[in-house]
């Protein structure tokens, strides 16, 4: 019963501080959005380069892997002497974390495209660039998108740590709540974040289905 009571208290805390909540939620979403956009902009072309120039692949992948193994707090600690306290450092740290899932999926997605399909395209007189743009990327899109989805869900969680360098977001409530033993405040910050992650995941799953399975999709309808 006391857990339920705490939950109700959390709800009360949220309602009483609703304006602050909206500000924190907005900061949280913007952190995720900006760092994801940056990660997509960097990881997709990097994946393309890795597949195109096979010699670079292992170096690119190992940079991505190393980035992933550095503890988030360490990245934050590294980022803030360079970029200062605040939003920028937080975005940089989140960006580093968001990269790997997109990068690995871009590479996997491009590599899984059937070699014969590529050969047919080349044989029909497509240039390397046309093959990439018209055949490889569209065919890899569902896999790349799945990587973005994973990355977004991870980033929603990681963004709580932005608090440590003054990046704002829902982490403000959760981490100061931990320091103050204020459980309702912790819940009021944590549960919306979890809901945000679940919502984004479902939205992305829906889009992924739309772009991924046209062929499969029609067929499943056709065959009942």
């Amino acid at each position: 019963m006391s857990e339920l009571y705490t939950l109700v208290e959390g709800g009360q805390y949220l309602i009483e501080n609703f304006d602050e909540f909206l500000t924190l939620l907005r900061e949280h979403i913007i952190l995720v959005l900006v760092s994801e956009l940056a990660a997509i902009t960097v990881a997709v072309p990097l994946g393309v380069i890795a597949v195109r120039y096979n010699r670079l692949k292992s170096s690119i992948l190992s940079v991505g892997n190393v980035a992933q193994t550095i503890p988030t707090l360490a990245v934050i600690a590294l980022a803030f002497p360079i970029f200062g306290l605040g939003f920028n450092s937080a975005v940089i740290a989140l960006f580093v974390y968001a990269l790997l899932p997109i990068l690995t999926n871009t590479i996997a997605g491009l590599e899984q495209v059937d070699e014969n399909t590529i050969e047919a395209a080349e044989g029909m007189g497509m240039t390397k660039w046309e093959v990439l743009r018209k055949i490889q990327l569209p065919m890899a899109l569902p896999v790349i998108f799945a990587g973005i989805r994973t990355s977004v869900v991870i980033t929603v969680g990681t963004a709580y740590l932005a608090f440590f360098i003054g990046g704002g977001g829902l982490g403000v409530w959760v981490i100061s709540g931990i320091n103050l033993f204020n459980t309702p405040q912790i819940l009021a910050g944590a549960i919306p974040g979890a809901l945000l992650a679940i919502t984004l995941d479902s939205v992305f799953a829906f889009i992924e289905h739309q772009i991924g399975g046209e062929g499969h999709h029609d067929q499943s309808i056709a065959t009942g």
């Binding site: 014969n116 047919a120 029909m124 062929g215």
Partner: protein, 328 residues
């Protein structure tokens, strides 16, 4: 149209795929490359559209060394049906067929018309199939789309790498027959690859027989059957040489034409086909002598009428076929 001049291809791992190959594909004819798996057929094909370049010798396209033609330009002028079909699964059938016309910058209306025309040519109703995805099609239908796609921009040359290889025998025979009709209509220069000697004999004006990396015999189907130049070719052609030869000759090549009067009320020609409502044995001008022979055996009649559009246009005697059969 295509000429191989002492061409050798050695891959980077020093595999010798073909050695010192020379042959020609004359304009408007079909030349079939046939040989066991791994003998260099696909490599030969890829040397034409420069997916591979020769190590030694030269390949000529319409009199020009392919090395002097831009790769992209060359490939867009040559239709290519690859062994594994390689349809673009993320595109509809219509978009697949439209690929090369789009690359060549045709306008949309022209492309749409062309796509419909080709789907019709390949016996796929445009209304039904244009907007389907390749996954929804059967193997035979996919192969038809592959051929339609290769023919889309009206290529001067068509390369077909074991196009019917993965199909069941009945679908394969149907597609072969249809394709022969289409070829008679479009008159493209074709280089066709197969590992089946029967398919080679059926489809080719000329046949190139490969042993591993080497050209063994380059000849007409009939000469290959009548004068195999080596043990390898004899083995490759296999049993039933005479029957195979009969399958190369059509009924209309040896029938005695009857003087048909242009008169639709001519009762004689009708009675040749039906007798008291029952269809009597008869032949069609496009039947091979092999199938004619089987009709003779079934019917046990000395001579049979050749019927086209319910009119008797000729007569053929069983003995004439026997003569060819025994004549070697």
């Amino acid at each position: 149209m295509i000429k191989f001049d002492n061409v050798t291809k050695i891959y980077a791992d020093s595999t010798v795929a073909i050695r010192d190959i020379s042959f020609e594909v004359a304009e408007g004819t079909t030349t079939v490359l046939v040989g066991p798996s791994g003998c260099g057929k696909t490599t030969t094909m890829k040397l034409v559209n420069r997916l591979e370049d020769p190590t030694e010798g030269a390949v000529y396209y319409d009199g020009t060394n392919t090395q002097e033609i831009g790769v992209t330009e060359l490939r867009r002028d040559i239709g290519y049906v690859i062994q594994e079909i390689g349809l673009f699964n993320h595109m509809t059938v219509g978009e697949n067929v439209a690929t090369v016309p789009k690359l060549k910058g045709w306008d949309d209306g022209q492309i749409d018309d062309r796509v419909d025309k080709l789907l019709e040519l390949m016996a796929l109703s445009p209304e039904e199939y244009r907007d389907q995805y390749p996954r929804e099609l059967s193997g035979g239908q996919r192969q038809r789309v592959g051929v339609a796609r290769a023919l889309a921009a009206d290529p001067d040359v068509l390369l077909m790498d074991e196009p019917f290889g993965a199909l069941d025998p009945i679908t394969r025979a149907d597609l072969q027959d249809e394709f022969l009709e289409i070829q008679a209509e479009i008159n493209t220069t074709i280089l066709f690859v197969t590992h089946s000697i029967d398919e080679a004999l059926k489809m080719g004006d000329k046949i190139v027989i490969f042993d591993v990396g080497e050209l063994v015999q380059y000849d007409t189907p009939r000469n290959i059957l009548e004068n195999p130049n080596s043990e390898f070719v004899r083995d490759f052609v296999g049993e039933d040489i005479t029957l195979k030869k009969l399958s190369l000759i059509n009924v209309d090549e040896i029938m005695r034409p009857t003087n048909v009067i242009e008169d639709t009320t001519d009762q004689d020609s009708k009675t040749a086909v039906t007798n008291g409502g029952e269809v009597m044995h008869h032949l069609a001008p496009g039947d091979s002598l092999k199938s004619a022979l089987s009709t003779f055996v079934e019917s046990d009649i000395q001579s049979l009428p050749v019927v086209e559009d319910e009119e008797t246009i000729g007569v053929i005697d069983r003995d004439e076929i026997y003569e060819i059969y025994n004549g070697g």
